[in-house]
């Protein structure tokens, strides 16, 4: 999606609290993929895990690391994962459901295309 729309929309990833740490709800599927981390105990630890995530998943958009007290995650109710689209005026025009079930990239894409269309219609 970033490849398709990255020229007109800024994609920002926000790295939040681990959803399935080894000291919480550990997932075997994560273990099989070699993704096994305890919940980071400091901002530096979280940044280190985020860096590994960025490299393994080849994330090309800016990966922002949330404050260790999860301030931005709570501001946006972003955990465990969630999608938003904010228009040029700074307003929320799409708020995805909470992940995992509510995390639907297709909905975000729909909002991106129609937001772009709205900009054209309104001019």
């Amino acid at each position: 999606m970033k490849q398709r729309y990255g020229d007109r929309v800024e994609f920002l990833a926000v790295y939040v609290r681990e959803a399935h740490p080894t000291d919480g709800w550990r997932m075997k599927s994560n273990d099989k993929d070699g993704v096994a981390f305890a919940q980071p105990k400091s901002f530096a630890e979280r940044t280190a895990v985020a860096t590994q995530c960025c490299e393994k998943l080849k994330i090309t958009m800016p990966l922002l690391v949330d404050d260790f007290d999860d301030r931005v995650g709570h501001l946006y109710s972003g955990m465990p994962d969630r999608l938003y689209l904010i228009d040029r005026a700074g307003k929320v025009v799409y708020k995805g459901g909470r992940g995992p079930f509510g995390f639907k990239p297709g909905e975000l894409e729909q909002a991106i295309i129609l937001n772009s269309l709205e900009s054209v219609i309104s001019h």
């Binding site: 990833a13 709800w25 800016p62 301030r71 972003g78 955990m79 994962d81 995992p100």
Partner: protein, 256 residues
């Protein structure tokens, strides 16, 4: 009885959790967001309903997505919005020509591939017709996706064909039906082997790993401002800097 005893023990053990306040949220350095951020969910906080639903889902061992706080999404760009702007005569469909979009973009939103936008293309619920077809496609993909990359390669397609055709060069109608709509695998009895305990789930709820108790901004609100560093520490990005320039897509998540 064992389950009831275990759950009672889990609840009793979690009295400590109930009595502790949620992690204190430091006041943001920038101006407060449009919606005040309470220190804890209260009766007047919309998050309380979400929270209670998730708590009940955990106590009922229901993480299917049908219970709990998982959706639906909210969007400005509903089918009603599309009709208001592109189908004022209420014909029930929007053609590519009427959309004013290039074909590639139009096609992305023509989810059922019928060459028009209709209400069905904007129905993201789990009960809509597209959701059921997607579910069938997902089952096919799960059986065919050998390298588990979430995509079907031509080799994987050929492997499925060869397995079902048993060396012959074509499939009849019945074999094709079995190929496209395989029977679901038998469900093992009892809870899934990966199912965490109620205690683990409740800990995840209170630690913010299952989700945040706060509701987040509402549709139409100004997005709360923030400044965060990139993972490599080379720069800091401020959300408000994009206002007036570009829309911003925010993707929240973690490695696990």
């Amino acid at each position: 009885m064992k389950h009831v005893t275990q759950r009672c023990a889990a609840v009793c053990g979690l009295l400590v959790w109930f009595s502790q306040p949620l992690p204190a949220q430091p006041l943001p350095a920038q101006p407060l967001p449009a919606q005040p951020l309470p220190a804890q969910p209260t009766k007047s906080t919309p998050a309380t309903d979400d929270w209670n639903r998730m708590l009940l889902a955990i106590m009922r061992n229901d993480l299917s997505g049908n219970a709990g706080w998982f959706g639906p999404s909210e969007t400005r760009y509903t089918w009603a919005w599309v009709q208001e702007h592109l189908d004022p005569a209420k014909r029930g469909a929007v053609s590519a020509q009427n959309s004013g979009l290039p074909p590639a973009s139009f096609d992305r939103l023509d989810r059922d591939g019928d060459g028009r936008w209709t209400a069905a293309d904007f129905d993201w619920s789990e009960k809509g017709p597209l959701a059921q077809k997607t579910s069938m496609a997902r089952m096919f993909l799960m059986r065919a996706d050998q390298d588990r990359n979430g995509k079907l390669s031509q080799d994987e397609w050929n492997t499925v064909f060869e397995r079902l055709s048993k060396g012959t060069s074509d499939l009849d109608l019945e074999e094709l039906r079995k190929l496209l709509f395989p029977a679901p695998p038998p469900r093992p009895k009892g809870p899934p082997p990966d199912m965490p305990s109620t205690t683990t789930l409740l800990q995840g709820l209170y630690r913010g790993e299952l989700g945040s108790p706060f509701p987040g901004p509402r549709l139409g609100d100004f997005a709360p401002d923030f400044t965060l560093p990139t993972h490599d520490g080379k720069t800091k990005i401020n959300l408000r800097s994009f206002r007036g320039h570009k829309p911003v897509a925010l993707i929240f998540g973690s490695f696990t």
